[in-house]
């Protein structure tokens, strides 16, 4: 019984969201606010479980066994609480210390990783013996696109038309994003339709259509 109810609820919600294709309306707004409430609630629940598993438990074992590393977990817990001072305009500066630690770890970890993977890794990937046409095209091509992203005046004058070629090569890359965005979004719609086009879900489709047509009729008369 419970899963019939779930199918009815989820199908109704899917159809309510699809009404935006007709126009923005109360049904769509209801579904949207439902989602924001659910996802934010989920994040809070998860935050509580994480603090318990990643810090509170370690602090307790640390205190019991006297292990310094465990006891030191009091520091991130305090910093975690301080971050909520962001909401008081008077004491906001207090929350900055927690953000500073997170930023320091985040930025330095990405600098460590990106300089090795994106910069050195991609340069090594581009450095190949030019044995055929493709090799030549790839080498010149990556230089042209790099030069497109160089903005200093004199440097741009020296390199002449190369950045223009770079921009056209970028169009190929943007074409790849264009084609893949379409395939990606279609896969999501296919996933939703897989659930919608099966009994008992699709019985609700005519109901939704009737409501939309009725609404369109009423609105056309009143205009």
């Amino acid at each position: 019984m419970a899963d019939i109810l779930m199918v009815l609820i989820s199908t109704t919600l899917i159809l309510m969201i699809y009404t935006i294709l007709y126009r923005e309306n109360p049904a769509f707004r209801f579904g949207e606010h439902l989602l924001v409430g659910a996802t934010v609630g989920h994040a809070i629940v998860y935050g509580v479980f994480q603090v318990r598993d990643l810090a509170w438990r370690k602090l307790q074992t640390g205190i019991l066994t006297g292990d310094l590393v465990g006891i030191a977990y009091i520091i991130p817990i305090i910093l975690g609480v301080l971050i909520y001072f962001q909401f008081s305009s008077k004491y906001r500066y207090i929350s900055r210390v927690s953000i500073a630690l997170m930023l320091a770890v985040g930025l330095s970890l990405s600098i460590r990783g990106l300089m090795s993977v994106n910069v050195i890794g991609q340069i090594k990937g581009a450095v190949n013996p030019i044995t055929n046409i493709e090799g030549l095209v790839y080498m010149i091509g990556v230089i042209c696109v790099l030069l497109y992203f160089v903005y200093e005046k004199r440097a741009s004058d020296i390199v002449g038309p190369l950045p223009k070629i770079g921009r056209y090569l970028l169009m190929l890359t943007m074409g790849a994003y264009f084609a893949n965005s379409i395939m990606g979004r279609l896969s999501i719609v296919i996933g939703t339709l897989n659930e919608l086009l099966v009994a008992p879900a699709w019985y609700l489709i005519p109901v939704a259509l009737l409501i939309v047509v009725a609404d369109a009729m009423i609105r056309r008369k009143s205009v």
């Binding site: 419970a2 779930m6 989820s10 919600l13 899917i14 969201i17 935006i20 707004r29 949207e32 606010h33 439902l34 989602l35 409430g37 659910a38 996802t39 934010v40 609630g41 989920h42 994040a43 809070i44 629940v45 935050g47 509580v48 994480q50 603090v51 990643l54 810090a55 977990y73 991130p76 817990i77 609480v81 971050i83 909520y84 500073a100 630690l101 930023l103 320091a104 985040g106 930025l107 600098i111 990106l114 994106n118 991609q122 493709e134 790839y138 990556v142 696109v145 992203f149 056209y168 090569l169 970028l170 169009m171 943007m174 074409g175 790849a176 084609a179 379409i182 395939m183 999501i188 996933g191």
Partner: protein
């Protein structure tokens, strides 16, 4: 008092970053210990920030209800759902308990997948009305995109095997030139932004320059 705290903040930002960056190239037990601890502490603070968004949304929508702003009934819907999820999660003790799983699959799954897929419809109508080969650049993009679409969809190969092969050539050129340069650009851009934040020249990520 606040100016002392501000110096402490910039000192932490600079020192912690320096330690983690040096640890990448220098073998040293204390450096490694400190990096692991800072790393795990950042994970804990990350867990606390999950609640930050929640706090501001609860306050904003509560104010909308109290002041009877337009659309306030939707704020009631939002807050009721929010507290239902929190209550179910905390009472059942885990997010894969049957009850939590039920409300999650009934509400979050259908709405978010429909919303995320919605763009397929908007792209379809824009394909007819807005995607024009206004310039040579846009023409190159559209032609490349069409060949790549025929590579992505099995129908392309069925119509004629040349189509996917042209698509693959375009895909390889795009991957080896444009993508590579964009990745290098992101690497350098992150270093530039990172340095400016670490030395305190760029304040925005810290929440404004006041």
């Amino acid at each position: 008092m606040s100016s002392v705290w501000r110096n402490v903040t910039s000192a932490i930002l600079f020192l912690v970053s320096l330690i983690i960056l040096v640890e990448y190239v220098w073998v040293d037990a204390t450096l490694q210990r400190l990096t692991t601890d800072f790393n795990n502490w950042a994970v804990v603070i990350g867990a606390f920030t999950l609640g930050l968004g929640g706090y501001s949304i609860i306050v904003r929508h509560w104010r909308m209800i109290v002041k009877r702003r337009t659309l306030w009934p939707y704020s009631v819907v939002l807050l009721v759902t929010l507290f239902t999820f929190i209550a179910t999660g905390l009472i059942t003790g885990s997010v894969t308990s049957p009850q939590y799983n039920w409300i999650y699959s009934a509400i979050v799954m259908p709405i978010s997948s429909t919303l995320y897929g919605m763009n397929a419809f908007f792209i379809a109508s824009a394909s007819y009305r807005a995607f024009r080969a206004r310039s040579w650049e846009a023409a190159v993009l559209l032609v490349a995109a069409i060949f790549l679409m025929l590579k992505n969809a099995p129908i392309g190969g069925v119509i004629s095997p040349i189509l996917p092969s042209i698509g693959t050539i375009i895909w390889d050129i795009a991957g080896a030139t444009g993508m590579r340069a964009i990745l290098i650009g992101i690497g350098i851009g992150t270093l530039a932004l990172g340095l400016r934040v670490i030395i305190g020249q760029e304040k925005t990520p810290l929440g404004g320059a006041d």
